[in-house]
Symmetry: C2
Subunit: 220 residues, 2 copies
Amino acid sequence: MGGEAIKVHGSVLSPAVLRVFACLYEKDLSSAEYVPVNMATGDHKKEPFLTLNPFGQVPGFEDGDLKLFESRAINQYIVQAYGDKGNQLNFHDDPKKNALVYVWMEVEAQRFDPAASKLLFELCIKPILGMTTNDAVVQEYEAKLGEILDVYEARLKQSNYLAADTFTLADLNHIPAINYLMGSKAKAVFEARPHVNAWCADILARPAWSKVLELQKKQS
Amino acid sequence: MGGEAIKVHGSVLSPAVLRVFACLYEKDLSSAEYVPVNMATGDHKKEPFLTLNPFGQVPGFEDGDLKLFESRAINQYIVQAYGDKGNQLNFHDDPKKNALVYVWMEVEAQRFDPAASKLLFELCIKPILGMTTNDAVVQEYEAKLGEILDVYEARLKQSNYLAADTFTLADLNHIPAINYLMGSKAKAVFEARPHVNAWCADILARPAWSKVLELQKKQS
């Protein structure tokens, strides 16, 4: 056990919040506290949340007196600060191996996520909100995601995971969006690429991710 | 001197390429080689460039047999691999201080850059290409950038630089876009916020950035 001083403020429907919990559970920081933020009433746009994140987006994060935001930055902090705990998610002492973790983290943030988030909104969030999915947008972004996943397919032919032959933070950061999209018609974009499809099955089967889904179920 | 094994492939007009050179020069890796890529003939979308970056965007980067892409990932590598050289741009041994470098690097990548890049394209690139600037787009993105810079203004009232009281990689990653926009009408968005304006003047005056501008002039 560990992580008693850690609090994650947000909603368990948010992929960014789930991303942070996935990292905490990989690092055996299971005592981290979930603090729900009522986004329906706009509490993320008001104090005290704005003190955690002046941009008013979840998650907000505390570790003792340290306050952080931006899920990918939080995960980098967790991996650096708790290097000796749980699963190793980077190569802190080997800059050349670690460089590929940075590269594929950037690919997730700059290329995969913009396309995946658009599809996730159309296919997973709009139905929850009673809004109508825009099929033209879905088609456009499925094509964009497909082009990105062609590069992933070539990479995953050569390497078990994106940055290395072992699971790293670069893979982890993808999990929440992939978990959502695998429950939608966009799963066909992943299934059409066998190495991508096997990688998705592998990273979604991690015990830490099962724990995140339990938390989500309990708190929803 | 240092960086003899380093090559940066791209164009000196690209903010992402300039971002990498800014980091190399801060770290006194002045021997890094610039390898021009003819983007007008689409060489970045063909081999051998695609072996450096399968997404076909500059820069591509080599350090001996290590091949990388994504400018922000390359800069993280440089800072980690050459920690003992030149200026210190992060807090490698202090996870809590370093966490704020990660946070503000993400803010640059996820919030500042999308708005700044849109303006940069409309105001700086379109005139070079003989295309017409879309004033409605400029107005929309100046407003978006303004909202982001309101948060920067509050932050820079409390802190000399974004992540700390000293210059870090989080500040550095902003320099190329700010340098371009300060030569356009969008500079008013920065000038309207005194702490932001002083910070821009400070980071643009760094000797390493002057060296980058000399390289750009010589190679254009």
